[in-house]
Subunit: 609 residues, 2 copies
């Protein structure tokens, strides 16, 4: 027999830190002896009696120090400062009648402290924790303090709950979470990759994955059938607005599955997530809208359907117009659309309309923004209306339901996408100033956008590129068009899920046949040599019994942001980077010794300051 | 009102791929019309009737094609090859009496196929999927085929179940999973980092985390109290044996917690994991052993306690020995130990003992391996015994329980660690040849090793280094020794959890006081400037109310390997790299265009072949 230290209890530390959390005690516990630990939220002296609000992750409890109980502790309690870390022991007591705090779960009781232990002192924080107006850079530099706020604690707790609900749901549905490599290969035709030099293979590089796309497809070839992963992904993009160089996605792929089955699966998942995060039951199935409809009616492939403000076709009205711009577009089969911002006339002065015009010019490179404003009791004000015939005006007013108080905005271009780009954004701005968004702040409007185009012609590259990615499946009924080279007509079995005008995620049924995949590469101008170099393993895998498969990926950070009602993804990420990719708390990234670089066979070409 | 495509059902694909899995149908389903999809496992022609074993992720079902039902399908079924992907429709029928397959869950039924659809043809695989002797490089190159084997499917399913059980358990215990950055800072005093050049910050680099150590401590300062993460970690080491450049760890950290509370938490977690993976109830609490005991008695800080073969102290016996090596060590307060390999004499020839000696010389740089072999009916055979006095021999035999048939192995050195290194490994080899390991193959022997030394003197660096890491807390009772500069005497509040001689993980209670952390840096030779450069944010965080905290990390890959009974971590990782850090399937890492390097301000210094 081996002789071991017989009783683990002999290793027990002399004390435990607490018997209860600061959210736990209730009148039923009165009389009990308890130990609590946490941070000093506030302390105040009322005639020699010290009241400390003690805070931990779960809540707040009022602690009372009186000289009768412990004179020494009371003296020390008087000196406590906010954010000091303490441990107290005492008896649970009822608060004096009239001093209960109904807002606090523990508000009916207090602890009469008999003992105080200061575990760690705190300096005065560089900013008041509960001030929402503190500069974000300062909050990011002291992120560990910022994370103590109710707001951030709530967000991170809800993020955990959402991710747990997601995993539970997918596990229930028979999906296996499988980890794929972070040290992987460059993404062909993706955004810019982050590179990692290899020390064991001089002159070569790993890339951090932009998505586990190929691995998840290979897991289908491997017969795992139902895969998911809450996967960290990376894109080295210029960080505009609300982007992060690393982000997390809910990555799902399955075999022997149809597009509608995937959509139904994801609807159920979102139902569970929003139940968990908000306690609401979102109705399913979500409505479906084709890409063509979304673009035509709302000027967006992720339309916000909480309000109308639909775009209306006008090309037929202006076929013989005196307004040359419209006539030439209408004549050549182009697109003329308008939307009616009902009741916006009083909200938009001439100066403001001028600013809107400037905005569409700089933001979208548009030539201008045609409008007609009709103030109550006034005339049509517009730089273009003088070119319209009476018949055109009548037809326009009728079709648009144009009335006094309204403003019409126009878009005209040979390409729908160009009209949609401008009017889609003008639509959102109109909704904003009309208060339509504020009125529907709490509405959750889900939508599937389907039937995306498979291919788009890229004038810069002078060839067709994949709208989604090169592995996306063409719709069966559009295969003849693909064969015939009528690429613009080919739709993909691809779908995006949209919430309140924000794209939550997208996916597609994939190509699983080697021949079709090879054909697709040819269409995309990927020659045999490049195929061999970048896709040999995938094409080879497809020749050994690849099942039909498809999937979807949802951006977790954005989903959590919307689910918890945060303003930015930085509010749902524990340690986000700023828009230069820097972590202000740890000062990452940093310079490293040239010897470290030499070890991985690279040198820096950056100019020294 | 918005007009949307009214009924999602109109988007439904024309067919679903299957109504049941290949593991699902039973005699109760006889007569039902079903559709199945999967891979052809085998097909055979019995007098014109074709029997196909159809396989999917869940199991196998026998499909029967007969000309009476569908002549055309039967002709095609005849031509099917292994790994072809098919969809079949047919009726569930009872197998003929005597042809049932009791080994198969679906073995009492078969499907009489009325329809066959070949979804994808398969080329002949480059190796037979069920041959365990296939070269690993080939299996890794065609990993998507290797993953189709029962063995790998089982491992990945169990890995998923284990990870799910871990998350469920920690969630139940109130822990929040919080993601920390992958693009982070170099690890001070760690292994070699993987570097990622920053494009937005020329000349600077991110490092991939070796562990989320500082982030998890900062989350404690942030008041999140109970954190965990199944975290991807990275180490750019030379890949010996069973290592991977990226690995996954169960990372746990909590505030207001004692070492024993953490250990109890982890015991519960392992209990749940082994219940899930093996259906066994492992007894808790685990025994505890101090580092000093483990080294003294078993020559290892992760002793395998499934067998004895303890090391025994002999220094007092050889204080005046004629054998100079022993005498001088014993005289100077050094360590002399031996272990008795009971019954090993018949298993170890003189040549084999010679080989063992060679092995300890090359592997550990030992000067030799002293032994005494006592064959049944023979004399003591040994190069050293001639120097021993009769009294020494008697004392030795008595203390070691030395008998005919046994072999004694000796170690002598001024340092315990040197003796332990050799005899610890000799002990394992003895257990192996004596069949002690084989006999206890299925035993799960868990152990906590505690009271590790805090510091070790590094002759190369000529200063003291942290045994665990610089944030580890000294034991309260050893604080006087730390103050007095008696660093060798200071023990850490650090603990490792060991299973069958394999370290599953380790952790510690951390330093949470700025002053003590600064003192520790001084002891470790980290001057004020370096502290400022590398640890400023941590030291600053400690000054704003850091709670007492501690944690642990367990290597997930190794844990899963042991739980499922795999031989290598590569068998529980979907896409592992080989021992040169290469993914043989995707040929990662790769050369990249110099323009891509220029964009991130680096150039390659590798010599071109």
């Amino acid at each position: 027999m081996l002789h071991l230290c017989p009783n683990p209890a002999t290793f027990r530390a002399p004390a435990m830190y607490r018997t209860h959390s600061c959210h736990q005690l209730r009148p039923a516990d009165i009389g009990q002896s308890v130990t609590l630990a946490g941070w000093v939220n506030t302390n105040r002296d009322q005639g020699g009696v010290i009241f400390v609000d003690l805070r931990d992750r779960e809540g707040v409890t009022q602690i009372v120090f009186r000289s009768e109980e412990n004179a020494d502790a009371t003296v020390h309690a008087h000196k406590l400062r906010s954010e000091d870390v303490i441990q107290i022991t005492g008896k649970v007591a009822a608060r004096l009648p009239g001093t209960e705090n109904a807002k606090l779960a523990t508000g009916a009781i207090e602890i009469i402290a008999t003992d105080l232990k200061v575990l760690n002192k705190a300096d005065v924080p560089p900013f008041p924790l509960d001030d929402p107006k503190v500069n974000e850079d300062l909050r990011l530099e002291y992120r560990y303090l910022d994370l103590r706020t109710d707001h951030m604690q709530r967000n991170l707790k809800l993020r955990h709950r959402i991710v747990k609900a997601t995993r539970d749901y997918l596990d229930d549905a028979g999906f296996l979470e499988i980890e794929t490599p972070v040290l992987s290969n460059p993404t062909p035709e993706g955004a810019r990759d982050f590179l990692v030099p290899s020390r064991l293979n001089p002159g070569t590089f790993y890339a951090l994955p932009q998505a586990p796309q190929q691995y998840k497809q290979l897991l289908q070839v491997a017969g795992l059938e139902k895969y998911f992963q809450i996967a960290r992904c990376f894109r080295d993009e210029d960080l505009r607005a609300d982007r992060q160089p690393e982000f997390t996605q809910i990555d799902v792929e399955a075999s022997f599955i149809t597009d509608v089955e995937i959509q139904t699966l994801i609807e159920g998942m979102l139902k569970r997530i929003f139940k968990e995060a908000r306690g609401v039951d979102i109705p399913t199935p979500f409505p479906r809208m084709t890409y063509a409809d979304a673009m035509n009616r709302f000027g967006s492939d992720k339309p916000d359907l909480r309000f109308g403000l639909e775009l209306v076709d006008l090309a037929d009205i202006f076929k013989e117009s005196g307004f040359k711009v419209f006539r030439s577009v209408a004549d050549s089969g182009g697109v003329i659309k308008a939307l009616n911002a009902k009741g916006a006339a009083a909200l938009l002065s001439k100066e403001q309309l001028k600013k809107w015009e400037e905005w569409v010019k700089t933001e979208f490179g548009a030539k201008g923004l045609a409008y007609i404003k009709w103030s109550e009791g006034g005339e049509w004000e517009s730089p273009i209306v003088k070119f319209f015939s009476d018949a055109e005006k009548k037809a326009l007013a009728e079709r648009m339901g144009f009335a006094a108080g309204d403003v019409l905005f126009f878009g005209a271009d040979m390409k729908l996408e160009a009209v949609a780009e401008v009017l889609g954004r003008v639509r959102l701005r109109c909704a904003d100033i009309l208060g339509l968004l504020a009125a529907k702040k709490d509405e959750l409007n889900f939508l599937w956008v389907v039937d995306f185009p498979l291919l788009a012609f890229s004038p810069e590259d002078n060839h067709w590129v994949a709208v989604h990615h090169p592995f996306t499946r063409p719709k069966a009924e559009d295969m003849p068009a693909l064969e015939a080279g009528e690429y613009a007509k080919v739709r993909a079995v691809a779908y995006d899920v949209v919430l309140n005008g924000v794209e939550l995620g997208g996916g597609s049924i994939r190509i699983h046949e080697k021949d079709l995949q090879t054909k697709m590469f040819e269409v995309l101008g990927v020659g045999p040599e490049e195929q061999q170099l970048k896709f040999a393993h995938l094409l080879r895998a497809f020749s050994f019994g690849a099942p039909p498969h498809g999937g979807i990926a949802l951006g977790l950070d954005r989903l959590v942001m919307l689910a918890v009602g945060a303003e930015s993804i930085r509010e749902v990420i524990a340690f986000p980077k700023n828009n230069r990719g820097c972590d202000l708390m740890t000062h990452s990234p940093v310079e490293v010794d040239f010897k470290q670089l030499r070890e991985v066979y690279i040198s820096s070409t950056a100019k020294k300051n």
